[in-house]
């Protein structure tokens, strides 16, 4: 029983090596105090992409975007990447959930 509990996550982790070779563009933005320094990220429609968020604050943040299905915590003074599936044209909001009233940015898909 114990073995099985341990073996499963290990198995999953070794089996999985996220694809890197594929052509997927990374867009970067930084959260400083209450604002994203790239507050509008332009991406082409119909292609998956990656957002890299640098958290320049000491406090942790949580990148959240309901339409893009993003919900990921980022520790203070560190970075995360999130994969976003191909989106249709439009303007999509992302926020730092911990201060969502003020820390807002948009991904503009066109």
């Amino acid at each position: 029983m114990k073995m099985r509990v341990l073996a499963l996550p290990l198995m999953l982790m070794t089996l999985s090596s996220p694809l890197r070779a594929e052509d997927i563009v990374t867009y970067e933005t930084t959260l400083k105090d209450k604002a994203f320094t790239v507050a509008e990220i332009k991406v082409p429609a119909g292609k998956p992409f990656i957002i890299k968020l640098n958290n320049a604050n000491a406090a942790a943040a949580e990148l959240e975007a309901k339409d893009m299905k993003i919900e990921k915590a980022v520790a203070g003074n560190s970075s995360i990447v999130v994969r976003v599936k191909a989106m249709t044209p439009g303007k999509y909001l992302f926020v730092d959930e911990y201060q969502e009233d003020v820390a807002k940015g948009y991904v503009i898909v066109e």
Binding site: M13, L19, A58, A59, A60, K69
Partner: protein, 272 residues
């Protein structure tokens, strides 16, 4: 304060529901309470540890360490829920009916109780670290509203606890002869939903890449991120934009879960 309350509540509602259901489902199993409390405490301690290592975890696997970690613990929880359902199907009836046998059953049941502790532990662990990060941020942020936010956070946790309690009490109101069936359905749905969610984390990590078309989009009808959406997401695995792969895995776990329980229980139902 309200903002903080909502943030924390959104994170803990899922664990709250799961704990309530597991508590109700194992209400007749002697010693289950101890294991559930143990699981919750271990989950809280684990959350604090996980929160400390969020940065390092995020940098693993090309930046998708958190997703893979979540996928893995969800997969573990699915196995434990299935194991528990099978075990309850084999022993639950006898135990509920004849207390004399309960002592023997409990000795055999220690493994199932361990599974239970793991289920609640992973439920707390999954969202708990985010609550810890948030509250820690409030504490070090030195904002003028820190006091109010801390209070909001505490209230959010308390409401999450209340969700557990009312789920538990609500389920206990179910008449005895349906009780076993209802709780085992609930657990099967929980397991199916978690399996689909595990797949969605693998998709986010870029590991699961087949069958990626969206089956439907019901976000306009019931957004998964709303409170009701979140409750439905936890209870039956509701997703407002599931991929084909998520749906396939969901149905596979659901059908095999029901099938197994029915198959195990069949001879006993003839006797009864």
């Amino acid at each position: 304060m309200i903002g903080a309350l909502i943030i924390v509540f959104r994170e803990v509602i899922e664990a709250g529901l799961i704990i309530g259901i597991v508590m109700a489902a194992t209400q007749t199993v002697m010693g289950s309470r101890k294991w559930i409390i143990g699981g919750v405490l271990a989950g809280i301690v684990g959350s604090c540890i996980l929160a400390m290592f969020t940065g390092s975890l995020a940098s693993l696997f090309d930046g998708f360490g958190q997703e893979l970690f979540n996928a893995a613990i969800l997969a573990v929880a699915v196995c434990m829920l299935t194991w528990h359902n099978i075990w309850m199907a084999m022993n639950g009836r006898a135990m509920a009916g004849e207390l004399k046998q309960a002592g023997i059953a409990v000795r055999e049941g220690q493994k199932s109780l361990m599974a239970l502790a793991i289920i609640v532990g992973t439920a707390v662990l999954r969202e708990g670290s985010e609550v810890v990060l948030f509250l820690y941020g409030v504490a070090i942020g030195g904002r003028e509203t820190a006091g109010g936010m801390a209070l909001g956070g505490a209230l959010g946790l308390a409401i999450g606890g209340a969700v557990s309690f009312f789920t538990f009490r609500g389920l206990l109101k179910i008449p005895n002869r349906y009780f076993f069936s209802v709780t085992s359905w609930l657990i099967t749905f929980l397991a199916a939903g978690m399996a689909a969610q595990s797949v969605s984390f693998l998709e986010k990590a870029g590991v699961a890449t087949i069958l990626q078309n969206t089956v439907w989009d019901s976000s306009g009808f019931l957004a998964e991120s709303s409170i009701l959406g979140k409750i439905m997401h936890t209870l039956i695995g509701y997703s407002d934009q599931p991929t084909v792969l998520q749906l396939v895995v969901y149905l596979a776990v659901l059908v095999s879960g029901f099938g197994l329980t029915k198959w195990i229980r069949r001879p006993k139902m003839v006797v009864a």
